[in-house]
Amino acid sequence: MKQFAALLRKDNQPVRYLVVDDSVFARKNLIKMIEMFGGEVAGEAGDGLTAIAEFNRIKPDIVLMDITMPQMEGIEAVERIVRQHGDARIVMVSSVGYQENILAALQKGAKHFVQKPVKPEVLYEILRYVLSDDPNAVNAPVALAGEHHS
């Protein structure tokens, strides 16, 4: 399995993620990748409404957000989260990757977009980029995932 240098916060703690997807498999898959990147899954949600509540509760460093979900879709959830927390870092993760969808998500405040099925190396680079303007996160990885905190 490919190894990735850990993405850490400036305080040397793991980046905390909220994973939002109505598919259990999609969440498991993303969680597996987060662990490969040395991150910590602070919370999970299966719809937009729960995602908002979870965001307020755990204040994650990064949200990975699906678009098509029951109750409230991802793009509306992004809009509501960003309205309350202007510094929220949300990456959209969806199988529907056409331009209108991507633009709508970015206009509502998402930082980036990755299409399913997610390739670990693609998500890793996007997370590095999104974290690079986070004052709490390091710009450059410093350790291999799994080696920095045991």
């Binding site: 598919s23 898959n29 969806s94 199988s95 529907v96 299409q115 099925p117």
Partner: protein
């Protein structure tokens, strides 16, 4: 049936299965079908409405679905009806999502409805004027079937705007 409508689904299925299952896939069989579709395992039906209309069915056996589930989860998954349904829906969502992206980039606009799972014994009827293409894809987990029935409903937006209005 127009191949330009079918090709994005085949390309998307190939890419999605290859990436998700971490191995190449190949088309084992391809045929036209005018009859009501009889599922082979658990089938997810996704309806499409807009510039083009129709439906796509993704169909796989319980056994194949469980192998796919373990592959997607990265660990052995305990077999259950719920896991099978989740797996089929997730695969269908990824294939359709990627196909829609390709078709949208070609200028087609339409709405995709969430997948509906079919496990009963009754067939899945197509519309009277629509024949379906059935594609059997061989994957490392087993055979996965795609049944695609699609037709143009309206002229594409660009074609509509090119036609002068009649007063």
């Amino acid at each position: 049936m127009r191949m330009e409508l079918i090709q994005p689904f085949i390309s998307a299925a190939d890419a999605v299965f290859a990436e998700s299952l971490q191995a190449p896939t190949k088309i084992q069989d391809l045929s036209m079908d005018e009859n009501t579709y009889r599922r082979k395992g658990v089938a997810a039906l996704i309806a499409i409405k807009g510039d083009i209309e129709g439906r796509v069915i993704l169909d796989l056996s319980h056994e194949v679905a469980m192998k796919v589930a373990s592959q997607l989860a990265g660990m052995e998954v305990e077999a259950s009806e719920q896991v099978v349904k989740e797996t089929v829906c997730e695969l269908a969502n990824m294939v359709i999502g990627n196909s829609v992206t390709l078709l949208n980039d070609q200028g087609f606009h339409f709405k995709v409805f969430p997948p509906e799972i079919h496990m009963d014994e009754t067939g899945l009827a197509g519309s009277a004027d629509t024949e379906a293409m059935v594609i059997c894809l061989e994957t490392p987990c087993g055979e996965i079937y795609l049944n695609i029935a699609m037709h143009y409903l309206h002229r594409r937006r660009s074609e509509r705007s090119a036609v002068p209005a009649l007063d």
